[in-house]
């Protein structure tokens, strides 16, 4: 347990020193402030545009950060041979994986918090005040974090297997497909053949269903997420992350380092 937190803290420090992270956060904050101007070139969407653009920015930039750092989490240690000295110490291989994961999650948590603070500042500026009902946006941020938790686990898993570029491609591809799973299953049902229907059903349950977590537009219109959805999505994310981490640990336990 202590070793996991040591590795997590070390991973966090390493991520935080990545300069790209700063650039992404700054860019996100710029975009969020631009939302204030956006309202003035349109009609009637001053409030809703800050919600939409702000939350979408947090989501997209969080995704970029998760992938950018996640794909190198394990691969870098293998490629630079730093893994040798780590595993020569009394560290279980599963402690290494879990520590790496938690370290990146903490990094993302903090960055998301910064972007969310910027978002609320922009909202306060536009509305001249903040209302209690504006807290509903935190539900969207929570769901974004759940999505990021799954993306990081995906990137980490691929990082154990292949090079950064391939990991990025696979992770991004699974993220996109994961957003379209309902449509894929619908296509399978419309297609008519039993094979298509079963195949798409299999894909639907197997792949990570990111579509569950897309609530930005409804939150922007002021409709909060029902509490049962909060609970079930949290459970889903927890289960899926466990699956991915278990797979990563399995692969890592068998891995040889020449």
């Amino acid at each position: 347990m202590r070793r996991i937190s040591t590795i997590a803290w070390h991973t966090f420090k390493e991520s935080v020193r990545e300069r790209v992270l700063y650039n992404l956060v700054v860019f996100a904050l710029l975009l969020i402030s631009a939302a204030i101007l956006f309202g003035s070139i349109s009609v009637g969407i001053e409030d809703v545009i800050i919600m939409n653009l702000g939350l979408s920015s947090i989501s997209v930039f969080g995704l970029l950060m998760a992938i950018f750092i996640g794909i190198g989490l394990v691969w870098k240690e293998i490629d630079r041979r730093t893994i040798f000295s780590i595993l020569a110490k009394p560290v279980h291989r599963h402690e290494f994986i879990i520590g790496k994961y938690l370290g990146l999650m903490v990094t993302l948590l903090i960055n998301t918090a910064i972007m969310t603070a910027g978002f609320y500042l922009a909202l306060a500026y536009e509305q001249r005040t903040l209302h209690w009902r504006d807290l509903v946006a935190l539900q969207a941020v929570y769901f974004i974090l759940l999505q990021l938790a799954m993306v990081v686990a995906l990137a980490l898993l691929f990082s154990c297997i292949s090079t950064p570029i391939l990991s990025a491609v696979f992770t991004l591809a699974l993220y996109m497909i994961g957003n379209l799973l309902s449509d894929i299953r619908w296509f399978g049902q419309e297609a008519g053949s039993a094979l298509a229907m079963n195949l798409t059903a299999l894909i639907y349950y197997l792949l990570p269903n990111f579509g569950n977590f897309n609530v930005i537009s409804q939150i922007a219109q002021g409709h909060p997420v029902p509490s049962y959805l909060l609970v079930s999505n949290s459970l889903y994310a927890l289960l899926y992350v466990s699956i991915l981490l278990a797979a990563a640990i399995l692969i890592f336990e068998e891995r040889e380092f020449r």
């Binding site: 956006f38 070139i41 349109s42 969407i45 545009i49 939409n52 989501s59 977590f213 537009s217 219109q221």
Partner: protein, 299 residues
Amino acid sequence: MTSEGRNWSPSRARRTCWAVLALSFLALVPLQQEVDRQIGGQRRIEELLYVPSGRLLRRLCLGHEGLAADIYWTRAVQYFGRKRIDRATRFDLLGPLLRITTDLDPHLMVAYRFGAIFLAEKTPWGAGRPEEALELLRRGIVANPGYWRLWQDVGFIYYWDLKDYPRAAEAFRVGSQQPGAHLWMKAMAASVAAQGGATSTSRLLWSEIYNQAENESMRRSAAEHLLALQAREEMDQLNALLKSYQDGAGRPAQSFRDLVPAGVLKGLPKDPSGVPYVVALDGHAGLGPGSKIDLTLLQ
């Protein structure tokens, strides 16, 4: 060492590179302008609409359809504004843009409400397509049942643009039953049902629009309509007076001054903008020169 090698010192290479950079950039500007001129207008129209359907676009958005809706709405606003400035008569892309916007975000009220106004208004203030506007509003009602203001907009279009009073009354009535509806809706329903296109009914409608107006331009438009209605009403009254004068005097009045000694009028009547009414050549009351009232609004 070849002769080419001997001539290319590092400073010479550097100077050449800078020269190439600068000259090429300078040449690019007129070239791009030429390209714009040739392809130009063609491209701009097509650019606006390079995604065929709102449903497809919604899938591509991966959860960011709210933002996409905002962008498409803004495009619609800008398209509409540009067409208005050009005093255009055809607003072909307005309908598709609004359809895509509302496909992306079925709860974006401003797209339904303003979109309907843009579509229904007569050219050159709008697209002059009240049927399309009604279609848009119907889709909005399906996606947002219980939102009474959409019913108000439906009623308005039937009443003002299509002069279909029975349907207008029905729309106001249904709308008055939705949760949170203003009591005014009931009053409007009754008024339309009873009196159709009477000026008093129209004034009731436009007063409410004035009160509900969310921005300056809407308020101004409603005020102008109210002034025009008031002028119309006054002119109707003046016409009645002119008629009774003619019946009495045996000849039409030349100007309103004739009516003063007869005790019919206390002074020269002025329209709501402060400009005196005149008697037109056909013997009816008319607006004086310099009047700010715009009677064409009442068509």
